[in-house]
């Protein structure tokens, strides 16, 4: 029998999907507020999702996070929480255009391919270090994604302001400066988590595997991502980079992050528990 939390997760996935479809259908409309249907729907999805994760943790312990399918779900949850937080604070659902598809796919991947977590095989992964490593990095990823979305929105809006036309959903975007601050704040909050998470992973790995670990593609990509991350903050802080240049950097950082995440499938050493 399927565990009940998997059912909740699937319900959440369906609700996110509905929200995503609705947001897409509203792209061209100027009047109907995006939030009238989308926010209650994905909000309900978030509740199911949260319950699902709490139950998973209750049944399997914290270690389930080390399974990639469970980590996907947790990342989606974090991103959704931030999305709702942004909605409450700024009354905008425009990031949903980018956030909801990602959340939807992450949740679906997790809900479809998930297997009951089996931790017993790997005593090494019971360590608290690993848990710390994974959860801080998840927060780092979520924040990076948000700042990526903000910079894309910034570009879109700057472009439409310059072109002097405001079609569809662009007219509902928050002010340029608000989008900008949002992205910068996300960077500032995410960076320490990312840094600490990577350091924790490295300490742990160098103890276990020694220097050879650092040639691993996953590690290289993670370091690259971290480097771009830092560059983003530095250019913003020192030269006030925003708009196009910042968006290119953010896109690059995001691409690096996606690769680093995907490298789990390539890496020999750094693997999630599930095959």
């Amino acid at each position: 029998m399927q565990p009940i939390y998997l059912l909740w997760l699937r319900v959440a996935a369906v609700l996110y999907g509905l929200g995503f479809i609705y947001v897409l259908s509203q792209l061209r409309s100027k009047n109907a507020p995006l939030s009238r249907f989308a926010v209650p729907t994905v909000g309900l999805g978030l509740v199911f999702h949260f319950v699902s994760i709490v139950e998973t943790t209750y049944f399997n312990g914290y270690q389930h996070l080390l399974d990639i399918r469970h980590a996907e779900s947790a990342l989606a949850l974090l991103i959704m929480i931030i999305f709702m937080g942004v909605f409450v604070r700024y009354r905008t659902t425009s990031p949903g255009v980018f956030v909801l598809p990602l959340v939807f796919f992450l949740t679906v991947a997790s809900a479809v391919f998930q297997r009951p977590a089996d931790m017993s095989s790997s005593p090494m992964l019971r360590s608290g270090w690993i848990f710390f490593h994974v959860s801080t990095l998840l927060i780092g990823y979520a924040a990076l994604f948000l700042s990526f979305v903000s910079s894309i929105l910034y570009i879109f809006q700057a472009r439409s302001l310059k072109a002097k036309v405001q079609p569809g959903w662009l007219s509902k975007l928050p002010a340029l400066q608000v989008t900008d601050e949002l992205g910068y704040k996300a960077l500032l909050i995410g960076f320490p988590f990312m840094t600490v998470g990577l350091i924790a992973g490295m300490i742990f790995a160098s103890e276990k595997f020694g220097a050879s670990y650092f040639g691993d593609p996953k590690v290289v990509l993670s370091l690259l991502m971290w480097g771009v991350y830092m560059l983003l903050i530095y250019t913003r802080w020192s030269a006030g980079w925003r708009g196009r240049k910042a968006a290119y950097l953010a896109t690059f950082a995001f691409a690096a992050a996606v690769c680093a995440w995907a490298a789990n499938y390539l890496s020999r050493v750094h693997r999630f528990v599930a095959p």
């Binding site: 100027k30 009047n31 809006q157 700057a158 302001l161 310059k162 002097k164 928050p174 002010a175 340029l176 400066q177 608000v178 030269a239 006030g240 980079w241 925003r242 708009g243 196009r244 240049k245």
Partner: protein, 453 residues
């Protein structure tokens, strides 16, 4: 539904004519008194603004000659004013009130002032007792409809003047204008107007640079701003978030290389340039720089046009909303007409029943509690059964045409020898309560319940 309206507005009469119709606020009570003294008029209200003068009335018997009021009040000769007036009655008058309050009848559709003006006129008329029962209902409904139109359609959300569009765009870039500074290059009227708008929306500081320093000083002092000699222009502009330029210079003042310098000085914080000069003061190439946004007078006008288009589209939605509300109001009014009859019918029968029970008690002596309740149930159920048809007929009459409702009400009153409806004043106070009673009676589908129970 005996509502009537006569009046002149920006569509029917030029300003020279509207002037002659205008009634200053101090003279409104007197005018209302005159209106109420007109044959058949029960209630009245007068709205007098610069775009419209409209006289509303409700008559007792379905007709009243508002033209006569206009003739008498203003002392016009017959044939002198009719061509400028519009008149509506009954449902059309209701629709008109809704449209006026919702700003669908305004010169600038969606402007919010008119609602306040109608509310004022309503308050005045109420204060002198000219608005009491049904007209009161109509106006409270009109205010509710206006609110609904405002929230459910985007009719009032877009700005339709150059200055307000400038503010709107600035807010799209900076979010709140709180703490933002504005730089005026040139001290023209348009500059001043735009600056005034920006200040009203929270902009903190004004700088003024002008070829003639004295004029800069003069304008700056108006806003408690800072006047800057024109020679220092390029060194100081980067201090401002919003630059409004309207000089008479034949060549451009700000070119791309200036923009690059400003951005470097501001560490890439965005800047908003508004160019209302013709020929233009700002090189359009500036707009290509990341973080600089340039709007010239044509761009602003284009936004204004687009917004007017939006408003038109929204106005259509609002119109259909108003239509819906008119028919809903019609139904409500008819129910309101039937309800008092229903209530007095119920009261009447209940009194009869109680009296009969009391009489019977004298003959039968003390009853056991079981017998007592059996008698209660018996009498109640007889009355309910008999009353079922008359009450459903009354109710369906309320849903149908006005005329048939009135007839049914009269027949029922005659048949049961009910007294005339209560005075309008009392009727208004108990209106809600009566409707509640009627609703609960309808739900149980029984005829007679004690209204106090």
């Amino acid at each position: 539904m005996n509502f009537f309206v006569i009046g002149v507005n920006h569509r029917t009469a030029p300003v020279e004519v509207r002037e002659r119709f205008a009634i200053p606020e101090s003279r409104l009570p007197e005018a209302l008194e005159k209106l109420l003294s007109l044959e058949g008029v029960e209630e009245g209200m007068i709205v007098s603004t610069c775009n419209r003068v409209e006289v509303f009335a409700r008559s007792r018997n379905g007709n009243c000659d508002l033209k006569e009021f206009v003739r008498n009040y203003y002392g016009f000769k017959p044939g002198e004013f009719e061509q400028y007036c519009f008149e509506h009655d009954h449902l059309e008058a209701v629709k008109h009130v809704f449209r006026v309050a919702s700003s669908l009848d305004s010169m600038v559709v969606g402007e919010s002032q008119i609602l306040g003006q109608v509310k004022e006129a309503y308050a005045t008329a109420r204060a002198v007792g000219a608005v009491q029962s049904q007209l009161d209902m109509l106006l409270s409904r009109a205010f509710a409809v206006a609110k609904k139109v405002r929230t459910d359609t985007a009719i009032a959300t877009s700005s339709v003047s150059i200055a307000s569009v400038a503010v709107e765009l600035a807010e799209k870039i900076f979010g709140s204008l709180q703490g933002k500074s504005v730089y005026l290059v040139g001290a023209g009227k348009m500059c001043e107007l735009a600056a005034r708008h920006l200040l009203a929306h929270g902009a903190a500081k004004i700088y003024v640079a002008n070829r003639t320093y004295e004029r800069a000083l003069g304008l700056a002092s108006k806003f408690h701003g800072e006047a800057i000699p024109f020679d220092n222009l390029y060194e100081t502009v980067a201090k401002a978030d919003i630059v409004i330029s309207s000089t008479g210079a034949p060549h451009t003042i700000f070119r791309k290389e200036h923009g690059e310098k400003f951005l470097a000085q501001r560490r890439n914080r965005p800047m908003f340039f508004i160019d209302i000069a013709v020929p233009r003061d700002i090189d359009p190439g500036l707009n290509d720089l990341d973080g600089i946004f340039v709007y010239d007078i044509d761009d602003l006008q284009q936004v204004v046009k687009a917004h007017i288009g939006d408003r038109k589209r929204e106005a259509e939605r609002a119109e259909s909303l108003v239509e819906e509300e008119v028919s809903r109001f019609q139904q409500r009014l008819q129910t309101a007409e039937v309800v008092p009859t229903l209530v007095s019918l119920q009261e009447h029968l209940e009194t009869l029943r109680q009296a009969e029970i009391d009489r019977m008690r004298g003959r039968l002596g003390q009853l056991t509690p079981e017998q007592e309740s059996a008698v209660e149930a018996l009498t109640r159920s007889i009355i309910n059964k008999i009353m079922h048809t008359p009450i459903t007929t009354l109710k369906s009459a309320a849903r149908e045409q006005q005329e048939s409702a009135t007839t049914v009400v009269e027949v029922v009153r005659k048949l049961f020898n009910l007294h005339a409806p209560k005075a309008p004043e009392a009727q208004r106070d108990t209106r809600e309560q009566q409707q509640e009673v009627a609703v609960s009676a309808g739900q149980q589908n029984t005829g007679v319940t004690n209204p106090k129970a």
